[in-house]
């Protein structure tokens, strides 16, 4: 056991906690500064987690086969950028993006189609909610069987996973515009498409973005897990499942790091987009 590392990590934790408590209370009037602080606080928190992790793995001499230390993971990331990039290309740039786009667009299109027919809406929604709860581990092998080994089957899994959240949210969103607003369009003798375009879609945007955000994390997880069930020998999921068998756990965490980074960045990107598109929503007005 290495007590020094543990003590150092604990000390760092305490310092970081005080730093954050202080930063929170600062509350500056300067906008840029305030935004900076809002970024800094979770960053300090994250760094603290990593330092504690390092402290524990080093301090308690944890076998790297069980849990490698962050420094080892970082070294692995630095040494294997080419492999990580190739895997990222295969899994994210091909499977996730294609599946995400197809799933979201088709979910949206079906929602708009279904919205005109209440009977379809009532029938599809409960079933949609059910299918959305199906475990990917059940769907992935089937998709590999149907769509082959390459990224297409992963994209298909992503489509299945993202379709229903989008469908359900869009349908709810299309129903979200107020009765008064819809009456207003009636008084203009507005047609179906005009009402859809000018009222119901804008009003549905917060819901649609909700689905886009949920789907952004679902898509990545889905593609990675689907790769457990057959892939060409490249891809984040392939690497993770293979390197565990080879006892290269640091490589596994390197991929997990890339996945978490990509997932968080896409989520953040969509959140920014949401802010720009639904700027009018009360939750964004100061």
């Amino acid at each position: 056991m290495n007590n020094g590392a543990i003590v150092a990590a604990t000390f760092f934790w305490m310092v970081a906690w005080f730093a954050n408590s202080w930063l929170v209370k600062l509350n500056p009037s300067n906008q840029v500064l305030a935004r900076g602080i809002n970024l800094l606080i979770p960053l300090i928190f994250g760094v603290t987690l990593i330092v504690i992790w390092e402290g524990i793995t080093v301090g308690f001499n944890i076998s790297p086969v069980l849990l490698p230390s962050p420094s080892m993971i970082w070294a692995r990331i630095a040494a294997s950028t080419d492999i990580l990039w190739a895997d990222f290309t295969q899994t994210f740039l091909k499977a996730v993006l294609a599946g995400y786009a197809m799933g979201c667009i088709s979910g949206f299109a079906v929602a708009v189609a279904v919205d005109r027919v209440p009977f379809l809406r009532k029938g599809l929604l409960p079933i949609g909610n059910l299918v959305a709860a199906l475990p990917i581990v059940g769907i992935a092998p089937i998709m590999v069987m149907w769509f082959g080994f390459d990224w297409q089957s992963k994209a298909a899994v992503v489509v299945v996973m993202t379709f229903f959240p989008m469908l359900v949210n869009t349908v709810a969103g299309l129903a979200a515009s107020g009765a008064m607003e819809r009456d207003l369009m009636q008084t203009y003798a507005s047609g179906y498409w005009q009402t859809l375009l000018k009222l119901r879609l804008p009003a549905a945007m917060p819901f649609i973005f909700n689905a886009l955000k949920i789907n952004s994390t679902l898509a990545l997880i889905g593609a990675i897990v689907a790769e457990f069930f057959g892939t060409p020998i490249v891809g984040m999921g392939f690497r993770i499942s293979t390197e565990v068998g080879r006892m290269n756990i640091d490589m596994v965490w390197a991929e997990i790091f890339v996945a978490a980074l990509a997932g968080s960045l896409s989520y953040g990107l969509i959140a920014l987009l949401e802010r720009a598109v639904t700027f009018w929503h009360p939750s964004y007005r100061s």
Partner: protein, 305 residues
Amino acid sequence: KDKLVLQLKWVTQAQFAGYYVAKDKGFYDAVDLDVEIKPGGPDIAPAQVIAGGGADVIIDWMPSALASREKGVPIVNIAQPFKRSGMMLTCLKESGIKSPEDFRGRTLGVWFFGNEYPFLSWMSQLGIPTDGSDNGVKVLKQGFNVDPLLQKQADCISTMTYNEYWQIIDAGIAAEDLITFQYEDQGVATLEDGIYVMEADLDDPKKVDMFQRFVKASMQGWNYAAENPAEAADIVLENDATGAQTEKHQKRMMGEINKLVAGSDGSLNVADYDRTVKSLLSGGSDPVISKEPEGAHTDKITKGM
């Protein structure tokens, strides 16, 4: 009674009949052992489990065991019930593949998760690249079943003589329509199911004694299974908690497994070991292990039996 946890490499099936028989028939009880058998699965790495203290003894294939050892999990082979290798590549005849040279430009299904080493060293001995270059083979990470062949997503897939091969047959494809390449026949066989423990445990006389009793009782189980294959298959079925195994399949598997175990008294044949190591080291630019392993096997357990 001494408690001992055994981590298998794969799910409950006749491949591990010896251990289940030893447990059910009371052979372990007879040597004062209380053995808990943990089934494996697609993402269970026995070496990781033993490193984490989740098991005392594991069943693993030698290539992956040696690779793990190089990665810093000091596991040692204490016994080798499987004498022969059951691994092969199975192709559809209609693909036109007649010899390993015909693999070039084809798509082959391979198991990963540490099971790819025998394949990789075979290919490198043949001089066939596996990195997707033109005159090489295209490698797929094969799932857990034979669908890629049935769906014609691959020209050949990895199968075990005792398991997947028969699934292809069961799926309605006649043996004449298939062509198989056994690793054993190709001279690239590596040792499969062996018994491994942590190196440090071998310094503990109490543990050594336990392992001796374990290996002895297990081999007793294997012998019993060889003599009573039908009963052994029943015992396996009995122990399968998933309820997914069929009697027909397990009886047949038992027969094939017995062929692989035949001729082993449990001790590791050093010549087999050397052959395996040589095969793994000869991997050209990307060998499975980089240097001759040391202390990766011991007869400390089997010689006392």
